[in-house]
Each structure stands twice: as C-alpha cells, then as structure tokens.
C-alpha cells in the first residue's frame, strides 16, 4: 500500500463529498456546453455564497446537537428591515450594522429560549420561525421593494475580480474553520454536542456556548440575507422561503451529525456547493423548479443514510448473519 494511496484514502474518508462534487461538475459540463464555462462557474459561486454563509452558522448550531428552523425566516426579517422606510437614505454602514444587530437579536432569542428553558430547539425555532416571518411580512406588507443602489454593492461589486458575495462567503468559511478548529469556543461546541452530561460535568459553560452558537447563526443568517438581497437588488416576499431546508440539507450532506458532536465547516461548504451545482444543473436541463425540491429531499435522505452507515461501521457493529 503506497503512502499516496493511504493519504488519498484518508482524505476521502474525511471529505467523501469532494469527489461527488467533482463528478457532478464534470458530468454536467459534459452534458451542457455552456455549463463548463468560467462565467457559469462564477455564477454558481455567487449563487452558493449566501447559502454557504447561512449554512456555516447552522453548522455551529447543529454541532451542539441543536437545530435552527428559523434560518429562512431570519433571512426574510433581516431583508425586511433592510428595505424598511427608516433606512431608505441611511448610509450603507448604518444599514449593515442595523441588520447585523437584527440577526444577533434573533439568534439570541432562539439561543436564550433554548438554553434556559431546555425546550427542544426544534420547537423553539419552529415558533420563532413563524414570529420572524410574520414580522417580516408585516414590515414589507408582502410587497416587492427595490433596494437603493448604494445597498446593492455587496451583491454586484467585486474586489480584484472576485465577486463580493464570494469574498464574503470565503471570509465566513475561513472564520468558521478557525473558530471551529482552533478556539476554545469551537471545542466546547463540539464537546457539548458529543456528550452534554460530560460537558456539564467538566464544568463547561454549556448555556453560554449554546446561546453563542445560535447568536452566531443569527448574525450569519443576516449576512446571508444582505448578500442575497443585494444580488437580487430587491426584497421579495419569497425570500428565505423554505431556505432552512436547503441549509440543513447542506450541513447534513457535509457530514455533520444531526445529533451533534461530529462535523466540519469544510464539509458544510462542500454540501452547499453540491446543492447549488445540482440546482444550476437542473436549470440547464430545463426542469421545473419543483424538481429541485425533490432532489434536495432525496439528497438529504441519502446523506443521512450514508452517515448512519459510516458511523455504524466505525462503531464496528458489522453484525454477521449467524449471531447466535
């Protein structure tokens, strides 16, 4: 066994999604001439950016063994505030700060409710999802609202040829990887998700870390919202509708366990890329947008089953047929 082979095997075990994504890209490039173009890849990257940002936030939450169903609604409420009349003539910096604070507050609401009451995250965020979406609808009056030009820079601008959304996603990813792998906060997150009782027993600040995870997810949802709306140039009532499903699928596809304790930011980013690539591929094929829902659901199921098989192999429960 050569060491290159072993290295590849190890890399594959850590990130089995990467070859999947590669095959997907190659297959679609083979099928559609215009798919394999620089312009299209750029487009995919831009499209994937808000998803990556939101999904990195969700990874923090899911790593603790929690879940955040309110991502899509947070996206919408943040967008609604961005488009509200109060900010029409405010400078971009003020608007961005206001949105970040909105995201933080929304995340704190989730986090505090979950950490202090121990009501399951599923229920808490199911409730807050409705509250946030309702509030957003109230503010926008369910209207399409165009954004003033100075707020669109985040979506259309670029730095050294790199589109601004991609830049934001890259920074978020990098930050996520660092926080996750290099900081005490990241370590605590994973410990809590892996074994909450052991974390309490070791004296970890379980509540604070849990709240922090949701707060971060809120801020990143708000940032995703900024990126998304700036690219579209408008706030539509459909923003973030069903987004939580895409986000959670990306995270789980990326190998993060829904029970917490295991996962990675790079996996999540790959998951988001796979989903966006598949979605673009569907557009090329001319399929109706509903087909994406089917694909996404299927992917989620396959990802969870595959993860189950992987963990079980690890748990070496390869039960032979003749057990007794």
């Amino acid at each position: 066994m050569s060491s290159t082979y072993q290295w590849c095997a190890r890399a594959l075990r850590r990130q089995p999604l990467f070859p999947v994504w590669l095959v997907l890209v190659l297959a679609l490039s083979g099928l559609y001439d215009e798919f394999g173009t620089g312009a299209n890849f750029r487009n995919i990257a831009i499209q994937a950016s808000p998803l990556i940002i939101a999904a990195v936030g969700a990874t923090f939450v899911i790593m603790t063994g929690g879940i955040d169903l309110s991502v899509g609604a947070m996206l919408f409420l943040a967008a609604a505030i961005e488009s509200s009349r109060a900010f029409v003539s405010a400078p971009a910096g003020v608007v961005f700060a206001a949105i970040a604070v909105t995201g933080l507050l929304m995340g704190l609401v989730n986090g505090v409710a979950i950490a202090l009451t121990r009501v399951p995250a599923l229920i808490v965020t199911l409730a807050s999802m409705q509250v946030f979406r309702g509030a957003g609808g109230h503010i926008t009056g369910q209207q399409n609202i165009d954004l003033p030009a100075h707020l669109r820079g985040i979506g259309t601008g670029s730095l050294l040829g790199v589109p601004a959304p991609v830049l934001l996603a890259a920074v978020t990813t990098l930050g996520g990887v660092l926080v996750f792998g290099r900081t005490v906060f990241g370590r605590y997150l994973q410990a809590i998700g892996s074994n909450r009782a052991a974390a309490l027993n070791a004296g970890l600040p379980v509540r604070a870390v849990t709240i922090g995870a949701y707060a971060l997810a809120g801020v990143l949802a708000a940032l995703a919202s900024l990126t998304q709306t700036a690219r579209l140039g408008a706030v539509q009532p459909s923003i973030g509708d069903g987004y939580e499903l895409t986000v959670i699928t990306a995270v789980v596809l990326g190998g993060t366990s829904l029970f917490g304790g295991r996962g990675s930011i790079t996996g999540t980013v790959l998951g988001a890329l796979v989903l966006t690539t598949a979605q673009t591929g569907l557009v090329f094929s001319g399929a109706s947008p509903y087909v994406f829902d089917i694909v996404r659901g299927g992917v989620l199921l396959v990802a969870v089953i595959a993860a189950g098989i992987r963990w079980r192999t690890l748990a070496q429960a390869l039960r032979p047929a003749a057990a007794s």
Partner: protein, 484 residues
C-alpha cells in the same frame, strides 16, 4: 465436552492489532478465566464469540452448545423501558411468554431477577437504577435465553462485595449445571475462586493457558503486566491540619440526609457502604450535580449549591462512576476528552487553543494514568477499551492540582498494573495537599488507602472509622445497619 473452541482468532481495527492469533477452548461445566491488562483484547474476543464482531481470520466453534449468551462490560440497556422489558427484550416476539400477557413477562422476569439476587422488581425503570443494579439486569437478560455457554465481561466491576458474592454463586451454579463459562475480570480473587483454567492475554496475544492450580497471584500478575508489580498500597503521608472540605447536614433533597464530615488537606477519606446507600448522591451533591441541602465549605469558604462551575473554580474535581454517559466524548478524539477540563491553560489570545501545548498536556496526562491507547490520542474515545476509558475520566482532572478530588469508583474495570499506578497517583496528590474523597465498593482499596473511612447506611452516615478501627468487619457492620 468442548463448548467454545476459539482457533487462530485475529482482529485489527484500522491498523491496530487488537488480537493476534488467539486459540483456546472452554468446556461444558468449566469456568475459564480470561485475564489481561486494559486493552489486551479481552472484550474483543468476547465480541467475536458473541457475534458482534467478525474476526479478520480464525473462527469460533460452538460444538453443540449453539446457544451462547454474553454479558457486556458496558451495559446496553434501554433506560426508558422497565426491567422486565429489558430482560426479555429479545423474546417479546419469538417466545410464547412475551407476546401474550404482560403478567407472564413480569413473572418470568421476577424469576430471573431472583436468580441474580436483585433487590428490585420487574417494573422498575432502568433509568432509575444504579450502575450496579443495571449490571444485575444485564446478567438476568443473558440468563433469559437459557444459554449453554456464557461469556461474562467484568460482570462484577460495578458491584460491591455482597453482590459480587452473589454473582460468583450464580457462576458456580451455572458451571455445576454444565454451562461453559468464559469469565473476564480484573479481580484476581474471583479468578482463583471460580476458574479451572486461566487464559492470559497481553497486547492481543495469548501469553498463557494453564490450569488455575498451577498459577499463583504473583505469577499471574507478572504474566499479565510483563513485569513484577509492587505489592501492597503506597505509603500515605500524615494529613495536614487545615480542613479542605467541611460538610454539614448535607442532603440531596430526596433521600440522603444529615451527612456531616470533614476532610483535611492531604487526607484520603474513604466513603464505604452498600450499593444504593447514598454514597454517589453525597458526592454529586457536593460537586453540584444534584440538589443539596446543608452547608459545604471548601478551604473555609462556603460553596454555592448546584453550581458545578463554582465547584470547579473552588478547586473540586469529580471523577464520575458513569464514564460512558458523563465521563468522556466517545465520538471525539481521545485528546479532546483529556484536555477538556484543562483547556483554559492552553488557551491563548482570542480563545485560540495552542495545539502544541495541548498535545503536550494530554501526553503527560495519558502517561500519568498509564493509558494504553494503541491507536494514539487522535483515535475516537469510543475505540478505547473499558479500563482505558476509565483512566481518561480521571486523567482529565489532573491538569492542575485540585484542592479536593472526589472519586466515585475510580478503579472500576482497571487492570492490576494500572490500579497500582492510580493508588500511587492518589497518594502523591494527597502528599501534595489535595484532599481525596474516595468512594469505592472495593473494600480492600478503601481500607488500604484511606486515613479515615465514613460508612454510609440507608442514606445516612452511619459512622466514621479511623485507620486503626477500620477493619473489614467494622465497615460491614456499619454498612449493614449494625452499630460500632
């Protein structure tokens, strides 16, 4: 008649050889003891015999004893089901008993419970049972299949003397009934009492397979560990004057009441008592994991109630008895379980973890408890053998010097060599001024190490014995409700 024939078994886990070409036999009506250090490969053999693992090579034959049961080291019960349901979980469908009437289910379970001498009924929820009581359920569950061959993996590790006696009688009874028994344990006295033959493993290989009569304690230890072991308990220094822990009228708000004692700096205070006598509750109430009434002072300062973080800040460490559920992170690298308490000391600016420092720290901690992690510290905690998991639970507290360390059954499932290491470690900690509160069902260990022994009976502190008056008889008398 040979009931279990193990021939040429080998098994590796991703490059780590767990067992390597092991062969032996177990005959009907015979007890074969399987001895060896933590991580020697005993549980792996049991798992292969039980069909949970597939060997890489070699095979296991059962002759005509097709029905083999295993009693696992880590209990694998369903906490939210009743004892009866757990015991007969495999028969709910296939047997005539289970399907038809719950009453029959309960009756069968009661019979089995009586056989293992359990003091609780079939309707109790497993969640409410102590670790030791769960082990009894586990054994009853194995007996439910009327097995012709049975593998016990440290069945008495969480039990006290009385209950261990009960288990040994069960094993003797099984043997006399012609059942083939493979018995894994770290208690040498159980090995010598029960077994006709002793199979010793080291680092996955068979070291010896001899009639029990040919081996004595020292030879066996040397075979297991590969060197001569220091005998007896380490010398302990005289405790200091200053009181480190003062407990007054402690209760857990449920059963335990009126417990008062002091532990001086450098003192090892043993807490003895029967299973369920309230020792663990006392420990958890002090540490803040359970409700508490009464007053606790650490180094003269009152301790906040129900606040683990405050307890740790005050210098208390707590080694839990339930390692799998609250001791370590099974699906995270071993390194992370080891460093979780001391992470602050390797934390730099902006909460950054200094990985090099962390690795140094965890390596030292692993050495301090003689951890055998053959796949290294980056392997998952769940891949460690049971005894080595136990060592992690202790080691994680040793990154600083605790003012008070509370240990709840710290040597459960630990091999003879490592036990000696841990005794030495506790003696060293005490010499350096740490107060040690040692809860153990292994009376010999409490009597050998502790300066004073508090004995619990029925959720009360029945009495405190100093080293001179702390004899086995005196402790048992107090523990069973007698007077001094």
């Amino acid at each position: 008649m040979t009931a279990i024939t193990v021939s040429g078994l080998s098994k590796s886990f991703g490059g780590v050889v767990a067992i390597d070409g092991v062969s032996f036999t177990v005959s009907s009506g015979e007890v074969v003891a399987l001895a060896g250090e933590n991580g020697a490969g005993k549980s792996t053999i049991k798992n292969i015999i039980g069909g949970i693992l597939r060997p890489d090579s070699g095979h296991v034959d059962f002759g005509d004893a097709a029905n083999v049961a295993t009693v696992h080291q880590e209990t694998s019960l369903f906490p939210d089901l009743t004892v009866a349901e757990n015991i007969l979980i495999g028969h709910l469908r296939s047997s005539r008993v289970g399907t038809v009437r719950p009453a029959a289910l309960r009756r069968t379970a009661s019979l089995l419970l009586r056989r293992v001498g359990a003091g609780f009924g079939p309707d109790a929820l497993v969640r409410e049972l102590s670790a030791g009581q769960r082990q009894l359920v586990e054994i009853a569950k194995a007996l439910a299949t009327e097995p012709r061959a049975i593998v016990f993996d440290e069945p008495t590790a969480s039990l006290n003397l009385g209950e261990r006696e009960m288990i040994m009688r069960i094993v003797e009874q099984l043997r006399d009934d012609g059942v083939a028994v493979l018995y894994i344990t770290h208690y040498l006295e159980e090995i010598f009492r029960l077994s006709q033959r002793i199979v010793v493993m080291r680092d996955g290989r068979l070291m010896a397979d001899r009639p029990a009569g040919e081996l004595d304690r020292f030879t066996l230890e040397a075979l297991m560990v590969g060197r001569e072991l220091a005998q007896g308990y380490p010398e302990t220094a005289t405790p200091r004057q200053k009181i480190a822990l003062s407990v007054r009228d402690l209760g857990d708000g449920a059963r335990v009441e009126g417990v008062s004692f002091d532990v001086a700096e450098g003192e090892i205070f043993g807490l003895a008592g029967l299973m369920g006598s309230g020792r663990t509750e006392v420990a958890r109430a002090i540490f803040g994991l359970a409700g508490r009434i009464g007053r606790i002072e650490v180094a003269g300062r009152p301790l906040r109630r129900g606040d683990v973080r405050a307890s740790i800040a005050a210098g208390i460490a707590f080694v839990t008895e339930d390692r799998r559920n609250e001791g370590l992170f099974l699906e995270r690298p071993i390194r992370e379980s080891l460093s979780i308490v001391g992470l602050g000391s390797v934390c730099r600016l902006f909460g950054r973890v200094d990985h090099a420092a962390e690795r140094r720290l965890t390596k030292d901690l692993a050495t301090a408890v003689a951890l055998t992690a053959r796949s290294g510290l980056e392997a998952d905690g769940g891949s460690l053998s049971g005894g080595n998991q136990q060592k992690i639970v202790l080691a994680k507290w040793l990154s600083g010097q605790p003012r008070l360390i509370i240990l709840d059954e710290p040597t459960r499932g630990i091999d003879v060599g490592a036990k000696a290491e841990i005794y030495r470690l506790l003696a060293d900690l005490a010499r350096a001024g740490t107060a040690v509160l040692l809860i153990s069902s292994e009376m010999e260990e409490v009597l050998g190490l502790a300066h004073r022994v508090g004995v619990m009976h029925d959720s009360r502190l029945a009495g405190i014995l100093d080293r001179r008056s702390a004899t086995q008889e005196a402790v048992i008398r107090l523990a069973t409700g007698g007077t001094r």
